[in-house]
Amino acid sequence: MASDTLTGSTRTDAEISGLDALETAGRQRGPSRVRRAWSALWPKLAALALAIAFWQVVVWTGWKDPWALPGPATVFADLGHYLVSSALWDGLATTGRRAAVGFAAAVAVGLVLGLAVARVAVLRAALGSMITALQTMPSIAWFPLAILLFQLSEQAIFFVVVLGAAPSVANGVIHGVDYVPPLLVRAGRNLGARGLHLYRYVIAPAALPAIVAGLKQGWAFAWRSLMAGELLVVIATRTSIGAQLTYARELNEAPRLMAIMIVILVVGLLVDAAFGAADKAIRRRWGVLDQAGN
């Protein structure tokens, strides 16, 4: 009945050949860090190169006037200026801070609301369907209320962001809780987990994958609401990405608009990388990682 891993006791020849096989297998499946990074990177670069090439070709055909559809060169030149301007970094700082604070608030509200609705039957009957309905309410509809409640303070922006993102987070939580395997809930209950403990030890971790998915969707809602909401209060000394985006459009600055879009995409990519890492960690734990080639 002794159980020994490879690092334990002495080994016979056969076992050592087994170890050799392991090494080989290891080399096949787990290439070096550099190669792994490269294999994650080249498809992205290829996709990017393809997209830019296509764009350039379209521009060369002269399909549209250059002021309507600027070429990559123009846009990247503008992006270059933008990258060294304080406008970008100040804007990113302001918008990033608002996004972080607003999203954090939305997550807090969404988690509490989601858990409450998921497990309390009366609340679910009363508010359950309201959550999706609220989710479909466009941000601009909340603007008057935001101003009524918070005047021209940053809170008005947060209000819009939270109203935009919290329902999405809550829906993720509800979905996750709904699909927790009943066997695990029963196991938890039998092990003595009741009430909050049941949440903490069973329901929350079991629903975690769905909650992370909900957070990801919530982030997208938060960010989009923020882009609109930042126009609500164009505060004095603080420029923001949302305001810059709208102004670029209002001034018909196509290259600048596209430069800002690229910045937004990059921010989105970074945030997705964070969510992706979290998700991958969960999947590794759960043993569902090795299904596709990733």
Binding site: S3, R189, G192, A193, P205, G287
Partner: protein, 259 residues
């Protein structure tokens, strides 16, 4: 969702079922899983439950554990007793390591960290998985998972233990060893055990009393005391004799229902 029919009146460790009925589903598709089952488990008694596949054994354990609501009848448990149930499937938490799985009931009981560690190590040694503490459930074999579930249930430290085919996925040797361990813990802690198994020798090896359940509807149709003194050996002739008798009864019962 605790059974409303659970009235804590009896002595600690005792389990009493009075005319317990369980119906799944409604209307046309209803299935009568248990029909008027009355059963007493005395404190410190080891009762084995045998019966054909689908006769309602798991249902019965679920009801006693308070995880399901009986459709009729009463279940009485000792004051404040929360019976530990070892499910038919391992039901481990996939997001926790083996150690952490076993630790959950200890955490829930609020034990200090050092004590928890010692207990977990001890329990994993009991089920012979001391070296697998850091693995995750999906890295274990079927039998190993079952043993982790056993360790987790034992960690509950409750006077009533409900076990649903706990050793079904184990080889004979490992099973023998765990029989000894379980018997030791049972007598040390004076547990009341309700134990479901398909292995009649196992039943005879462990039980003070063996109860036979009929199929659809599940009813108690026969029971016998096992008066063989302990320690017992599963390959002893006395055990074989009792096992043969139970098998006969079972055969008659299943035959009665058979096509």
């Amino acid at each position: 969702m605790t059974s409303t029919t659970t009235t804590p009146r009896s002595a600690t460790g005792s389990v009493a079922l009075r005319g317990v009925t369980k119906v799944y589903g409604q209307g046309e598709h209803a299935v009568l899983a248990l029909d008027g089952v009355s059963l007493d488990v005395a404190p410190g008694e080891f009762v084995c439950l045998v019966g054909a596949s689908g006769c309602g054994k798991s249902t019965l354990l679920n009801l006693v554990a308070g995880l399901d609501r009986a459709s009729g009848g009463r279940i009485e448990l000792g004051e404040g007793v929360n019976p530990g149930l070892m499910f038919q499937e391992p039901a481990l938490f996939p997001w926790l390591t083996v150690e952490a799985n076993v630790e959950v009931p200890l955490k829930l009981r609020g034990l200090p960290r050092a004590e928890r560690r010692a207990k977990v190590a001890d329990l994993l040694r009991t089920v012979h998985l001391a070296e697998f503490g850091r693995k995750r459930p999906h890295e274990l074999s079927g039998g190993m998972r079952q043993r982790v579930a056993l360790a987790r249930t034992l960690a509950l430290d409750t006077p009533v233990l409900l076990m649903d085919e706990p050793f079904g996925a184990l080889d004979a040797m490992t099973r023998d060893i765990l029989h000894d361990e379980l018997e030791r813990i049972w007598s040390e802690r004076r547990l009341s055990v309700l134990f479901v198994t398909h292995n009649v020798r196992e039943a005879a090896r462990l039980a003070d009393r063996i109860i036979l359940l009929s199929s659809r509807p599940g009813r108690i149709i026969w029971s016998t005391r096992v008066d063989v003194p302990r320690p017992r050996r599963i390959d002893s002739p006395e055990i074989a004799t009792i096992a043969a008798e139970v098998t006969d009864r079972l055969r008659t019962e299943v035959g009665r229902h058979g096509q």
